[in-house]
Symmetry: D2
Subunit: 424 residues, 4 copies
Amino acid sequence: MQVEKYKIDGFNNELLADHKRRFEFVAADVANINDVLQKLEAFQIAIPSWALGTGGTRFGRFSGGGEPRSLEEKIEDVGILHALNKSSGAISLHIPWDIPQNHQAIKALAAQHGLVFDAMNSNTFQDQTDAPESYKFGSLQHVDKAVRDQAIAHNIEVIKQGVALGSKSLTVWLADGSSFPGQLNFRGAFERTLDSLKQIYAALPDDWKLYLEYKCYEPNFYSTTVADWGQSLLYVTKLGPKAFTLVDLGHHLPNANIEQIVSLLLMEGRLAGFHFNDSKYGDDDLTVGSINPYQLFLIFNELVEGMDARGMNHATDLGWMIDASHNLKDPIEDLLQSVQAIQIAYAQALIVDKAALQAAQKVSDVALAQEILQKAYRTDVRALVSEASLRAGGAIDPIGAYRSLKVRENLIKERGEKTVATGL
Amino acid sequence: MQVEKYKIDGFNNELLADHKRRFEFVAADVANINDVLQKLEAFQIAIPSWALGTGGTRFGRFSGGGEPRSLEEKIEDVGILHALNKSSGAISLHIPWDIPQNHQAIKALAAQHGLVFDAMNSNTFQDQTDAPESYKFGSLQHVDKAVRDQAIAHNIEVIKQGVALGSKSLTVWLADGSSFPGQLNFRGAFERTLDSLKQIYAALPDDWKLYLEYKCYEPNFYSTTVADWGQSLLYVTKLGPKAFTLVDLGHHLPNANIEQIVSLLLMEGRLAGFHFNDSKYGDDDLTVGSINPYQLFLIFNELVEGMDARGMNHATDLGWMIDASHNLKDPIEDLLQSVQAIQIAYAQALIVDKAALQAAQKVSDVALAQEILQKAYRTDVRALVSEASLRAGGAIDPIGAYRSLKVRENLIKERGEKTVATGL
Amino acid sequence: MQVEKYKIDGFNNELLADHKRRFEFVAADVANINDVLQKLEAFQIAIPSWALGTGGTRFGRFSGGGEPRSLEEKIEDVGILHALNKSSGAISLHIPWDIPQNHQAIKALAAQHGLVFDAMNSNTFQDQTDAPESYKFGSLQHVDKAVRDQAIAHNIEVIKQGVALGSKSLTVWLADGSSFPGQLNFRGAFERTLDSLKQIYAALPDDWKLYLEYKCYEPNFYSTTVADWGQSLLYVTKLGPKAFTLVDLGHHLPNANIEQIVSLLLMEGRLAGFHFNDSKYGDDDLTVGSINPYQLFLIFNELVEGMDARGMNHATDLGWMIDASHNLKDPIEDLLQSVQAIQIAYAQALIVDKAALQAAQKVSDVALAQEILQKAYRTDVRALVSEASLRAGGAIDPIGAYRSLKVRENLIKERGEKTVATGL
Amino acid sequence: MQVEKYKIDGFNNELLADHKRRFEFVAADVANINDVLQKLEAFQIAIPSWALGTGGTRFGRFSGGGEPRSLEEKIEDVGILHALNKSSGAISLHIPWDIPQNHQAIKALAAQHGLVFDAMNSNTFQDQTDAPESYKFGSLQHVDKAVRDQAIAHNIEVIKQGVALGSKSLTVWLADGSSFPGQLNFRGAFERTLDSLKQIYAALPDDWKLYLEYKCYEPNFYSTTVADWGQSLLYVTKLGPKAFTLVDLGHHLPNANIEQIVSLLLMEGRLAGFHFNDSKYGDDDLTVGSINPYQLFLIFNELVEGMDARGMNHATDLGWMIDASHNLKDPIEDLLQSVQAIQIAYAQALIVDKAALQAAQKVSDVALAQEILQKAYRTDVRALVSEASLRAGGAIDPIGAYRSLKVRENLIKERGEKTVATGL
């Protein structure tokens, strides 16, 4: 199914007068209002193909209704998202959960929904039924060359799939590590992993990037072979100029200052982009902005400042993806909430008074610097986000529209109450 | 299969002379050696029925070979454990993963292996295929009375199963909680949970105990309705004298002082016992003593001191259970390692010079108090544990015997390479 | 010095038109606008006497200029705060840092600034030059009765001071604990502490309350004798109906869900109130709302809901205090920022659509419940806070006024550049 | 005062027979016993000059008696330590707390006690009374060049002091960072710090090393400019081959896997060495091995493996220092406990069966690898440490000797009950 434009327009009409009043109120405070709106419009966040079904934990999984049963239906779901918010114009595939059979047809279907293919994701953390080797003790780090070779070949295959779809980057997340002291030699694991990555890197097309994600723990509970930003940076520096460090917000030890990491990776020219989500305890994979929205704003504040300092294009020079698990909510609603939270943080970061901030920093006026950031953060920018969506042809209130237009009910009608999408 | 006594004896014979030398060396330092050995012999740790198969994480599960395919085979596995270490003389069942069909037959089978039935475990964190209600949003806390009633009825059913098997306690662990701010009203969730627990409590036979476990997070990632020892204590105090707080070592926030919690629960007469495991990050469910063995010793130091102060029987007045997930190791080896780690910590706690420690505490001689604890902890008590096992008819080195006697190879022969036990 | 009303009015006049526009915009969305404004006006946050000087860490202290040199000057500083924001109408004294010599004169001075005396704070974590006993190894927990008696007598003396000033509560924060395993017997420490607290409790006037604060660590680094809310609740329940648990936002283990604790303490009728601050790592004592403002909002959401459910008066039935350390900022500016952050969180909590939230919770509509909370939180309520201040005779923008009126410069002129206030 | 050799011999004589029995028992299990003993003898741990007085926290400081009142007395104290354990043959000075007036005399005094001068420590985290600039907002990172220049000059002065004493390395620990979002620009702070470090680096003699320490937080509570090993590595790589990363065990976020960091820094050839201590919560600066001795063993396991793999000399190729704060214990006793804990961990690491471990790792035999590490760790190696001390002319039981010989009582007689050493 698709959400037709006229339905969205109908929904918008009800809200338009009120929206106008709100937009004008906030716009009056924003000097660079057109620039802000253009940037918001241009900012697209990729939706991962595995996030369209209900996720689960090791303790259970409670599926919802109308989940997509195929890659085609996943693209349809992202199409719905994008129709509503005009900010989800890309899809990030996970192989082997979503292997396209006919690349041209899939590309055409995506294009029909206004979607492109963002970073490809490989999977060497689960065994595949037809694979001879097991990843029980790791993949790219494995002591057994046969396992490493299988994992390398899989990654190269994913690149090929991506080339056929027009993707330009490969995201490598490794579960590799150990759960007990003594299980592996850290140096050996690093060296083998680096060697495997080099082989994958060698297979990258010239215009591709390799994104290397880090994670402090889970599913291994003693060590992880790409455990923190420092380790990822060590690998990507050794790999070459097409390798970058990917930040997943939930992959840090408690209390980590993520925004500082972001700033330094940008400084080094090695920031790949983001897997957005939120968390309170570990890799909780909750809706973006649902737990600590100020942190999200601070991250965007660094992004805007750092990208501008390097003359980067906000929309295209980094990879923006959501990576959350929707255990309790309708996945599409959850994603709409996540995208909106990102847009709000981005909008707030865009309206920070940079000149005033720099001046305050120059004289160590700590209280004033805090005031300047809080002023932007405390501003209600929802109307800016709505206006950007409206101008691009989306809904003033995407979640409201989704509910009002009874999208999920229609999907259940089409697909049934008991469907289970592939993914975690 | 069973591990026959003569095989263990044969294995022991090889090690006997060396063991004797080691035992005599350490025994020379232990004033109360017979008391220590008797206590070690009497100390039995229950094996959970779900821990005999390979566990997994939300990212995947890598099964091993020869896993038990039925409750009968699980009992057989615990029998093997117990034959080897003579300290695993109890099994803790999880319903509905292990519903006995013929209770008398199951009891007889267990007795044949020298096993009794420890605490029964209910499960309201997964949906059962035949159940009308879903636990997606909780069980005993659920806003819908029908769900709560189903969960209460399930717990009462588990008590009945336990009565038929000779168990004397019910362990309630609740996944109930919320993953997002606003999802539930904390007070309402507490009150509904308390009301549900009261109904279960009312169904307890007179000589039964209810163990209420707490856990800070997972599978819910914002709040948990029995989240810490303070909350559990609040519930059990309101329930009555048969309700107690169960401590799982992996269920705390980072850096928690678990030994102090243990001491205070003992002081209040509300400590149920333990789910033993170890962890580095969260509820990692690793082998007991594999990450922080000193903490385990400190916990046993509080247990010995506190139980003695209350005149309690170490072996029988609290519930001792392992609750670990064996993702990478042979489950039986992992359990043998866990039991040994517990015995070592217990033996070390038994040889602490209590009189000297109290004297040091009385004058705030901090350095001396540390010396006294470290003296016991640094003592190599493995020979004490071996001697206790030997005297009880077990192996001097249970893991060595398990490998030497090729137990797993035999289990694979009997049960096959591709078996998957129920459990996490 | 004092900030005269006409100066504040002069400052306000410049902002009035713009403020009016902003207030009307936000007021249009608030159904119960007068109720919200009245509650904001009535809400007073006590300023601790030790927070008016520059704080420090164990690594150093960098004093600012114009710090108050006496209790009288501290009262003057709180008077300045209150004149500016009309929400800091109380002062919380710390004994022995601020022992009044002439209680009537001090009361009169405070009254002149519109201030009353909130909770009194005792100090048994530092040795006093004239005291015979040392608190090196604890105070109320000490193994030596002479030390405990000294600490008890000090607390009773603090109550007497408070009675003379019109205070109605005693806050007990204990540094008591241990830094090494073995140093103390947890049960013994608990029992001695309880016994000491009972003696203090016995000295409480009928209309007084005892607030027992908890803290997970620091200055002791292994155990703390009132370490978490569960322990504090255990003590206060044993003490009697005039004893309550005080929550300091920075005194929790990483990732603790403080709002749930608040809700449960309210449910039990044992919440004393708050020491407000913010933190990223430990007890960082940062400006309220500077690190995680959403958490602060969620706490206020529980407070409003829970107090309303019990028919409590928001302004008077709990104790509201700031407890932060101002190492880098002008203490008065820092306190103005803290008070404003509290007011913003409170205002946001007041405008949550409770009926809609309850309805969403009743059907486990998790996404909608999140939307409802976020709607209130994302609202820019600064104009509500300004309006409440304005109506009460304060400044529209207290920090702006403070800077514009050059208050600090005047204080430095009066008191000198090199003054050091007592406190941490 | 000095502890004369004949007194130690007298003390040893009482213990000799029992020691011999214990040593022979454990030596029987150690294939490479002479190698182990020689390495233990050669292993010297530097004592920081600031650790000889009682430390404190921001909440207070409780001094002990007989604390050293001068650099000469500090050297005397380290001399006592070294006479007792023969493993503390170096002292690490902190400038400006301990500025030598006459370098030749100080060197001679140290030599008389068998001591050399280890790494020099600069201090730019406290303001000095005579310094024109303040470090309130940082030192090497400061926005004001005058402050940076002062901090650079101080570091260069410390190098000069070190040259005069025969030291070969400078340890730079920076408190620099920020306590509030917005306070500084992370990239700017990094770049200025790097520039300052380059100037210091340029002043290093050819045979000197620069050790750059990292710390996640405190005394700044939002960001730290050298916050983790990844950041330190980034700086030292940019500085040049004489710059290395120093690991302080207490400077990590909760649950960090420090041993993996150690392994990777060794792999990169950038490990400077250690500041040893232990902690439960933050930078608690507790006695080494008092909280998590298994972690210490795991770190030494990586050190031994990694240094051997690179052909490094255990004793001389890295810097080994203690950095703890003795708030509750006699500092000398505390240091004796710390050194012993280090020696035990080192001895246990030396007796790990490396060949067996590598073989187990090669086949991913996780349970066996754990057994191998635990076998070494569970061995009571105290007699090995005692034997090494004995052979070198020290005490079998240094703490026992210290108490038996009434060293502290004599120091108090000499120096008085009320002395306060410089330091934290």
